[in-house]
């Protein structure tokens, strides 16, 4: 009895926490426990986790540009490569220590961001996309022509970065937690940044540039600062990525890699801070599972991107937010379920067309009042003594109908 009361009070505490904090726990707690699971399931899990977290850092930095500053950078992978090359080149000369390599990786990406951003940020829209793409490719080709550092074949690091002379990063578990700490740090930093005056000016510029200018903020320095910050953060991700595989090659900077980073941000949802993390993890899982399924997994991924671009507004985070705001809820699903079940019953008795009309009407009515009358609908659902088979059919019908309404809405636009 006491135990259950304690559980109840714990649960109450949990739900009283702000959503952001609950979410952070939901995101980071599984990541913290992953190495334990890896003990049982194999070290491969650890490597995937590291990779996902590193890419999540890169995606978070890109999110600062896409989601906050409204700048669609298509050359973001360049920073990933520059960070890894800076640390790798130092390591190949025997200077692969943390005190040197980490600042070098971050500063060199920041410098590249400053130089290219000074030109790119002056432009907007399509120009910005193409210019960042071109600068990214420039970095790619320069890396390919670096003959002393492997050129096309890439540069193998002699070892992971030394921390004060020790090879502590060599341990996969230690490295995993270092990456996790970096991800947590960047996540907190991005949250602070977005909430700060700087972040508000950036968002204001995205919403209405003219007004923000009229208040007295010049857009250029703010955007350039954001660009440099994003570049530096991605340089950190590059440093970690190079460390993870102890290798760096021009392929890190290929423009398809930049496209994948954009995809991670959009898949997760560019509107929310946690979106890129969810997106990076989802993308990596998708890639792993599709690649296991067929060698030609890009044939599946490609059309998937088209579908995400056409229908996936706000990405996964968008769905979560809609759920949270009550635009989408379990109650609604229940309601729609009941409505369609009743239509099903009528279909058995009456004609097909009539049943469909009833279903359509019931669904339209069910959605607006969904939340309030959830209990009533659940009760009705119980009374109608629906069987499992019918429930499955109803769910299928809901999916079918929501797809067709989406298509209809999309056609009307």
């Amino acid at each position: 009895m006491v135990g259950s009361a304690r559980v109840a009070s714990l649960a109450a505490h949990w739900w009283a926490l702000p959503f952001e904090e609950r979410l952070a726990v939901g995101l980071f707690l599984p990541l913290m426990l992953l190495p334990v699971a890896a003990l049982g399931l194999g070290g491969y899990l650890l490597v995937i986790g590291e990779r996902a977290m590193i890419l999540a850092i890169a995606a978070l930095s890109l999110q600062l540009l896409i989601g906050v500053a409204g700048l669609i950078s298509f050359g973001h992978a360049a920073f990933l490569g520059i960070g890894a090359y800076a640390a790798g080149i130092l390591a190949s000369h025997g200077h692969g220590t943390l005190v040197l390599a980490l600042p070098a990786a971050i500063l060199s990406s920041a410098l590249f961001a400053l130089l290219t951003g000074a030109i790119a940020v002056r432009s907007r829209g399509v120009y910005f996309i193409m210019i960042t793409l071109a600068f990214g490719q420039m970095a790619y080709f320069v890396a390919s022509s670096l003959a002393p550092y492997g050129g096309d074949d890439g540069l193998t690091w002699p070892t992971r970065t030394l921390v004060f002379g020790t090879r502590v990063l060599k341990s996969e578990t230690v490295f995993y937690y270092v990456a996790l700490a970096a991800l947590g740090g960047v996540y907190v930093l991005m949250g602070r940044l977005v909430g700060s005056r700087f972040g508000r000016v950036l968002r204001g510029l995205t919403d209405n540039e003219r007004r923000v200018e009229a208040i007295g903020f010049a857009p250029y320095p703010y955007r350039l600062t954001a660009y440099v910050m994003a570049g530096a953060t991605c340089g950190l991700a590059g440093f970690l990525l190079g460390n993870e595989v102890e290798f760096v090659s021009p392929a890190y900077m290929h423009w398809q890699r930049s496209g994948e980073l954009i995809l991670m941000v959009l898949l997760g949802g560019s509107g929310q801070r946690y979106g890129p993390i969810v997106g990076a993890m989802t993308y990596l899982l998708l890639e792993e599972s599709l690649a296991r399924f067929t060698e030609h997994w890009k044939v599946i991924l490609g059309p998937l991107l088209v579908v995400v671009a056409l229908f996936g507004r706000g990405g996964i985070a968008g769905i979560i937010e809609r759920w949270r705001l009550g635009e989408l809820s379990l109650a609604m699903l229940w309601a729609a379920c009941g409505a369609i079940a009743r239509a099903q019953a009528k279909r058995v008795m009456g004609g097909l067309r009539q049943a469909e009309a009833v279903a359509a009407g019931a669904l339209d009515r069910a959605i607006p009042r969904s939340k309030a009358s959830a209990a009533a609908f659940v009760a009705r659902w119980r009374l109608s003594k629906m069987r499992v088979g019918e429930a499955v059919v109803s769910l299928a019908l809901i999916v079918d109908r929501s797809i067709s309404t989406t298509i209809a809405r999309w056609r009307r636009r």
Binding site: T116, A147, I262, V299, L301, G302, A309
Partner: protein, 308 residues
């Protein structure tokens, strides 16, 4: 360095520039008229080359292959427009980037499935396989001259088409203000489709022409696509004239840079750093050119009128 070598590289650069122009022309129109960022344009170039090889194996004649590959790439462009791109015109650039990126992944991999990952080759046509003497002891292949000729002819044709026909007038008007053109009663959707199909065919033409001299492989369109972006940014979005000037500029500078940068650096640097810096600088050349042009004129050399 001997002048004859410079001359040969100049012609190579010209030929490269002409090819870039063919790809960039369609791209700049699609950007200009529809405000649509089409990353999948390079794939159309690749597809043109693959179609040429496929039809060449079927018919055994280069000219028949070219004659079949062109309408095929036109049809393919139209199919893509109707199937996917049409639904993206009103959307933000982010969705367009994502969707066309998806199309690239799909088609690059699809080509690998159909024709294999290994590069394909195609024989030069008998008629154009010789070479002509340029000067004493220097010969240049006829086929490359033919490419330059076709490219210049297409550029001239496009000039007439865009500046002196009714559709061309609509295209120019659309590049300035598409909403106004629609308000005046023009079926903009049909105009879009025509422009898109036409652009796809030009990219396909470039692909057909390079099929005998380059290896035809998956992903061959990606590099050309990014160079075409550079061309468009330098020339100004929506401007055919800008694309032409910028394409020749980029083609010549890139080719000359790659051939002579290392030698030129040797004049001022010791040989070993010159060997390292030369290729790096050469591969940066056109991007530096782009940066310089943008610093000077942010909207490109010849921005379409009425665009800000």
């Amino acid at each position: 360095m001997p002048t004859s070598l410079v001359l040969v590289q100049l012609f190579n650069g010209l030929q490269f520039g002409v090819l870039l122009f063919l790809v960039a022309a369609g791209l700049t129109l699609v950007f200009g008229v529809m405000d649509f960022i089409n990353l999948a344009h390079g794939v159309q170039y690749m597809l043109g080359a693959y179609l040429a090889v496929a039809f060449f194996r079927l018919t055994g004649s280069f000219f028949a292959a070219a004659a079949l590959a062109l309408p095929a790439s036109l049809l393919f462009g139209l199919a893509l427009e109707l199937g996917v791109f049409r639904h993206l015109y009103g959307r933000d650039h982010l969705s367009q980037v994502l969707a066309t990126f998806g199309v690239i992944l799909f088609l690059n991999q699809g080509v690998k499935i159909v024709w294999g990952a290994a590069p394909l080759n195609m024989a030069l046509p008998e008629l154009l396989s010789g070479s002509v003497p340029l000067m004493e002891g220097l010969r240049y292949p006829v086929y490359r001259f033919a490419i330059i000729g076709v490219g210049l002819a297409v550029a001239g044709g496009l000039y007439v088409f865009v500046n002196h026909t009714r559709i061309g007038m609509l295209v120019r008007a659309g590049a300035s203000n598409a909403a106004m053109v629609a308000a005046l009663g023009v079926d903009v959707k049909r105009l879009f489709t025509i422009v898109f199909g036409f652009g796809a065919m030009l990219a396909g033409l470039a692909g057909v022409m390079v099929a005998p001299i380059l290896s035809v492989e998956p992903g061959m369109g990606d590099q050309v696509l990014i160079l075409a972006f550079v061309v468009i940014v330098i020339g100004g979005i929506g401007s055919i004239r800008g694309a032409f000037v910028a394409a020749l500029l980029v083609g010549v500078i890139d080719t000359l840079g790659r051939s002579f940068m290392t030698d030129a650096l040797r004049l001022v640097l010791p040989p070993s750093p010159a060997r390292v810096i030369g290729p790096a600088l050469a591969s940066m050349g056109i991007y530096l050119l782009m940066a310089a042009v943008l610093a000077w004129r942010p909207a490109g050399l010849f921005p379409a009128k009425g665009r800000t």
